[in-house]
Symmetry: C2
Subunit: 448 residues, 2 copies
């Protein structure tokens, strides 16, 4: 890893030490070579890229930033474009094409082999977030009737171009998926064994149109390294591999983080995104939440007489609102994550409500007690004001935790994403309710 | 998957159809069998578990809940305990032992083979969250001088007991890690090739004491399925496989979600955790944040004269505070996740500050403008009050976004976890600053 240094590479290019550079790049991990390419100047980039042998070039190409990909494609000859694209795994080629402007896509498709073009178009036709878009069509399949000896011959032939041969898929003559076979079984079997006899028929597969998140949760549940994808007629059309699933899980988590912080999800990199785009991602939710926060203003205006007669009541509003907001988002986060990870289900509705109620009673009472000691004994606040604040505290925490527990469940029931019910929304709802409770207590306990 | 139904299994047990049950369980995925076992009554559980052949029993055992594991271990004979434990992968055995009470652990270790016991004790001795605790010691290694023919013989011998043989690790006579070899290369090579000539020397390995999160990020970066773990003398001692990494990534994300919502991280399941434990996870942060929220109270008291002369100012406090809190946690979430995923680094400090400043200027101005129109033109609020609210809005959003961008970076610099600087902390800091700005504007613009 550490042996690939930008300065060394720059020097080699400057001194025209092509052989040394080639040797260095060949000895390095393609991921590191790709990282290096992203750092080079346009001229050095092309020079270094052209030094790579064909298969390494394709591997590195699939890993560089899309800016770098575009620079390379725009600068190399049409024949070279064809050589690289045809060498890519189809799923990588699709990822790359989706990022390119139309004119570049034209240059790419023009120089791609007809079979590759057909497969690229097939993958491009699947809906966003479906298993079809993350699968690759390069896998190793075996006919059910083969012997192990013939199977090994076939693997030797097609193995190099498959994204994985750790698991082989067994099909009949109509390409229907019948079973699977770990490569270790092939190695451990005797040459005369028939594939159909040693295969594992208990295969977990998904449909091309299945949702990526569903595929990811099957990978997690069954500890899979790869999973076959079938079409409507149950014919094997591709496989999804675990490295793509790591990306799906990451994307999914980032989306939830974003939604829970009132951001519109996006997979742009922060430093590379322009401020107007970043501002746009944030303004929509801020606006919605600001408008809904004006409800709290309405409530305060309604109770203006209470406040003007006891101005000190205002001093406790931020504490009550903040504590309520925090208590609510604690609950909503736990429930949202529980639903996302499948640990909680809609039928647990009542159990969640009951638990949150008990927890909020415990937590709320402790917070109220501490406030009582501070206000009444230490700060010598009048008893009626102390009671208004402390009793409100208990109720606010209870309201916050029950809303925090229930809103994500309700969202899920309405087929909305529970994550949008988190942090900010809860805060607004809890704030409004907190103020009403607070002023009601004040009216009863102070104004009588 | 769907062919394994709880009712069918219960019926088979009731009717003593052992052969049918055995056949059904053997045809099912061990993950599903384990899920079923968790649902059975104690009596049925033991009956069904005893039906399983030894290797499937171990696989299922490693996947059931720890409650179920304990029930099984407590009910079966000492010889049976030994058979199951010796059949487990060492890392699974360790996971299981860590969950058991002392008396059960004693029964387990007493019946474990000496080698297994030694390996379990070795793994138990690594610090929490280190690569050592998630690695397995069952892997396939090859001496560098072997021919492919002899290598295949060795794989056949040790392959069954290795957690993966998709990647083989090449060592010298002192067990130093020299390289690795994908199984596909063995299949594609000719029998006379020497392992040392066809191996890949560019191996990414970690140390037993390396942090799990660091291991996970290497898996993501290099798209690995397994990674070798070496000890202080660079000797190969284990491998980490991608299925364990999926768990590490999930844990890591859940921890961040928890911290960002002011919860103490824990991997207990919500429904199975008692309310006092759940309350304890929440109270600490609520207390800290409640106490810090009292600062806002102090500020309001300091400006009591401003508020008592213009009570309507109170009505805008929640909106300013909420918008500030939301704007701040948008920024902190983006920066925290950027740091966690390695997309942002400490050296980007100034760039982040500059971007957040620009974004907050754009976002703050839009929000202020909308407020201006609403307050001045629609609600006919006096101009000096309108200006106090709208100018405060711009400053609050700017303060919120810059703090949200910088606090995680500062936390990282101080070697604290940036995630604790998220949501709740930001809210408290922003609230305090927002009130000061608001009252200062009020003093200048309204009270003159």
């Amino acid at each position: 890893m550490e042996n690939l240094r930008l300065d060394d590479v720059r020097q080699m290019i400057e001194k025209h030490q092509k052989a040394e550079l080639r040797k260095l790049l060949l000895e390095s991990n393609p991921v590191d070579v790709a990282e290096l390419m992203d750092e080079l100047t346009d001229k050095d980039l092309l020079l270094a890229f052209r030094i790579l042998p064909k298969d390494l070039a394709a591997d590195v190409f699939s890993r560089v930033d899309s800016d770098t990909q575009q620079k390379i494609i725009e600068s190399i000859s049409e024949a070279e474009v064809g050589r690289i694209i045809n060498e890519l795994f189809v799923d990588d080629a699709v990822d790359f094409i989706e990022e390119m402007p139309a004119v570049v896509v034209k240059k790419i498709l023009k120089n791609t082999s007809p079979e590759m073009r057909k497969e690229i178009n097939l993958l491009l036709s699947y809906p966003d977030d479906s298993a079809g878009t993350i699968m690759t069509t390069e896998f190793a399949d075996l006919q059910v009737g083969l012997t192990v000896r013939d199977a090994i011959k076939r693997i030797r032939k097609i193995g190099i171009d498959s994204e994985t041969i750790n698991v082989l898929y067994v099909i009949d003559e109509n390409r229907h998926l019948l079973g699977m076979l770990e490569i270790r079984k092939i190695i451990l079997a005797s040459p005369e064994d028939v594939i159909g006899d040693i295969m594992d028929t208990n295969v977990i597969s998904v449909h091309t149109l299945s949702d990526q998140e569903e595929v990811a949760s099957l990978f997690k549940k069954y500890d899979l390294l790869a999973m076959p994808v079938v079409d409507r007629e149950d014919r094997l059309v591709g496989i999804v591999t675990v490295d793509d699933i790591l990306d799906v899980i990451e994307e999914e988590n980032e989306e939830d983080f974003a939604k829970m912080s009132a951001l519109e999800p996006s997979d742009d990199l922060y430093l590379e995104t322009n401020v107007f785009v970043l501002a746009k991602r944030r303004i929509v939710w801020l606006l919605i939440l600001m408008v809904s926060a004006t409800f709290t203003g309405l409530i305060i205006r309604k109770y203006e007489d209470v406040l003007s007669s006891i101005v000190i009541l205002t001093a406790f509003i931020p504490m009550l609102m903040d504590t309520g907001g925090n208590a609510g988002s604690q609950s909503s986060t736990l429930i949202i994550r529980g639903l996302a990870l499948g640990e909680l289900e809609l039928k647990d509705f009542l159990k969640i409500m009951y638990k949150e109620l008990l927890i909020s009673l415990i937590v709320g009472s402790i917070l109220a007690l501490i406030n009582f000691v501070r206000l009444y004994y230490i700060e010598k606040t009048p008893l009626n004001i102390t009671l208004t604040v402390t009793l409100s505290m208990i109720f606010v925490v209870m309201i916050a935790k029950v809303s925090g527990g229930l809103l994500p469940v309700i969202a899920k029931k309405l087929h909305l994403d529970p994550a949008i019910m988190a942090g900010p929304f809860i805060t607004t709802i809890v704030d409004t309710l907190a103020l009403i409770v607070y002023f009601k207590f004040a009216q009863v306990l102070i104004l009588k």
